[in-house]
């Protein structure tokens, strides 16, 4: 039977505040366990949470950038459940009145654009971390992360393939990084995603039973896990089986999802307003002030790159795919005002090295200055374009100045007529047949001969000069 795939996504994005959501502990990742806690985030009796204003501002900015409606009257609620990484026995979250509702984000997938509706985004505190001790039946708990501000962003079930899920997550992550409200680090858990997925016979209007997927910390795993789950559910349904509402963990080593079993499943969170926190009213003045402070977002920047620099829409899309890359591009163009040349290098050589090493453009060992140095060497005829491309990985890996690498490798372009003439003579001697063909009028042979001279020079000959001198030699 043909099934329609229905997917919604829940994202937990850590907001980039200095201090936690309700206390003054820091939010640094990777410190010694339990070195970043206080009576408030440890849930000790008699303590009082007070909300971090910056976290509220970041949530509002994100909500506005997602085209959402900002909730004027905000309340915080307690979500009650028992888990070792939740010291208070409840998580402070928002239930009835989230900070943002009814937003949307536009994504590009499969050659078309689509709006993904955001049902809600709300502020809540993060839990700590459980580390499972093998064999002992015990867990170790680190509460450094407990109380870190999160923005939980929930879509409507608008997605229908793993490609769309990845496109949505990339767009959302870029957006949050553009706003500087989340560092987007998936491995460190700053941007966590949980797709929920159900199948229904094509044409059916009611939803099937949905399964939630967890433990996915890269875009590749998102794609793999969603594809696996679609296949699994299709198979179960085709064999007349039943899908259970459950949470399944992605196991990337086995390439499959497996049911998460917990001894502490509370399906009744008994939300109620947290009496420790006073209501929060977000005035329209405050919202407008934050709206005015929003940076230029990717879609606006893309349009500007097209009009201001005259680069094709495709280029502009890639160049603005991350804020760091857009900043890099603009820095290069300021130094070297040939946008299309810069764009080709940034999208080609640079992005390839960045992707291979998993580096963001703002941490590139080849700075905009260095890239421009390389381009200038080509313009000055010191090296050929081919040599420039060939040495780029070395410039990237070594962090050395391009000129230094050119010198060390002896790659300076040969434009000296004497040296070139010697090479040309040899090539002509070695290829009498082709020389004969050329003299009989077969012009195409010239290209072959130029290639032979380039080869003899180890790619260092100036191709323009070679062309010119070859024609002269053949005419003589």
């Amino acid at each position: 039977m043909a099934y329609e795939v229905v997917i919604g996504v829940e994202v937990h994005a850590q907001l980039r505040t200095q201090s936690k959501l309700f206390c003054a502990c820091g939010t640094t990742f990777g410190l010694t366990a339990n070195s970043q806690t206080c009576p408030v985030c440890l849930g000790l009796p008699g303590t009082l949470p007070v909300i971090n204003e910056k976290a509220v501002e970041m949530a509002v900015r994100a909500g506005l950038a997602m085209n959402g409606t900002i909730g004027v009257r905000n309340r915080f609620a307690r979500k009650n459940y028992f888990y070792p990484d939740l010291p208070k026995g409840y998580q402070i979250s928002q239930y009835e009145a989230p900070i943002c509702e009814h937003g949307w984000i536009e994504i590009a997938a499969g050659g078309s654009r689509k709006r993904v509706r955001i049902r809600r985004a709300h502020l809540e505190e993060d839990a700590g971390k459980n580390l499972h001790e093998a064999g002992s039946g015990m867990s170790l708990v680190d509460l450094n992360r407990a109380g870190t501000p999160l923005l939980e962003i929930v879509t409507e079930p608008d997605l229908s393939s793993s490609e769309e899920v990845v496109a949505y997550l990339k767009s959302l992550r870029d957006l949050l990084m553009y706003l500087d409200v989340c560092d987007g680090n998936m491995e460190e858990g700053s941007f966590r995603c949980e797709p929920n997925l159900s199948l229904r016979p094509a044409g059916q209007t009611t939803f099937g039973t949905k399964v939630e997927l967890k433990n996915i910390n890269s875009f590749k795993f998102v794609k793999d896990a969603v594809d696996y789950e679609i296949k699994r559910q299709t198979k179960v349904l085709n064999e007349g089986g039943k899908i259970y509402q459950e949470t399944r963990l992605w196991n990337h080593e086995r390439g499959e999802t497996a049911v998460m079993r917990s001894k502490e499943e509370a399906h009744d969170y008994r939300y109620f307003p947290d009496p420790d926190l006073v209501p929060m009213e977000i005035s329209s003045e405050w919202i407008e002030q934050l709206r005015e402070g929003l940076p230029e977002l990717a879609s606006t920047k893309q349009q500007r790159f097209i009009t201001e620099y005259g680069v094709p829409e495709y280029d502009a899309g890639i160049l603005t795919s991350s804020k760091a890359l857009a900043v890099y591009f603009e820095a290069c163009v300021t130094l070297y005002p040939q946008p299309k040349t810069v764009s080709n290098w940034v999208m080609g050589e640079l992005l390839r090295e960045l992707n291979n090493s998993g580096t963001e453009a703002d941490a590139s060992p080849v700075t905009p200055e260095r890239l421009v140095e390389l381009l200038t060497l080509v313009d000055q005829g010191v090296i050929s374009l081919k040599v420039a491309r060939d040495i780029f990985p070395d410039v990237y890996a070594s962090g050395k100045a391009p000129a230094q690498i050119v010198q060390e490798k002896g790659l300076t372009q040969v434009s000296d007529e004497g040296a070139l003439a010697t090479m040309i003579d040899e090539v002509l001697k070695k290829n009498p047949a082709q020389v004969g063909q050329f003299k009989e009028g077969k012009q195409q042979v010239l290209g072959f001969l130029v290639g032979q001279v380039m080869k003899a020079s180890g790619g260092k000959a100036n191709p323009g000069k070679v062309n010119e001198l070859l024609k002269k030699a053949l005419a003589g």
Binding site: T17, Q18, S19, F22, A24, C25, G26, T32, A33, N34, S35, Q36, T37, C38, P39, L42, V50, I51, N52, E53, K54, A55, V56, R75, N80, F82, Y83, P84, N130, L131, H132, E133, S136, G137, M138, S139, L140, V141, D142, L143, A258, M260, R261, S262, K263, E264, A266, D268, R270, P273, D274, P275, L277, V278, P279, M280, E281
Partner: protein, 97 residues
């Protein structure tokens, strides 16, 4: 509105409280008295009155985003019944598959 024994048992389970039969009976009665007392509010008209979830009547109490010193790891773990490798040590929750 009446609090049934089943409701008391459910709440006790969610709160990880092991109640005896006698305690369940006693708490059912006491909770019914408390809820019954609060029911008196129903005789007043509350139309146009905003629901209250906090007492002080304040709103918008914020904290600046500034880090202050945390407890030391030793202090943080000092009340823990069991600790290891700078961590709280507790019975495992997730079952090993």
């Amino acid at each position: 509105m009446e609090i049934t024994r089943q409701e008391v048992e459910k709440v006790a389970k969610l709160a990880r409280l092991a109640l005896t039969e006698a305690e369940t009976t006693a708490f059912s009665q006491q909770l019914n008295q408390i809820v019954g007392y609060v029911q008196k509010l129903k005789s007043f008209s509350t139309e146009g009155v905003e629901p209250t979830s906090t007492v002080p009547g304040q709103s918008n109490v914020f904290r600046p985003d500034q880090v202050q010193a945390s407890l030391s790891t030793e202090q943080a773990l000092s009340n823990a019944p069991d600790a290891e490798a700078q961590c709280f040590r507790v019975p495992k929750i997730i079952q090993e598959s």
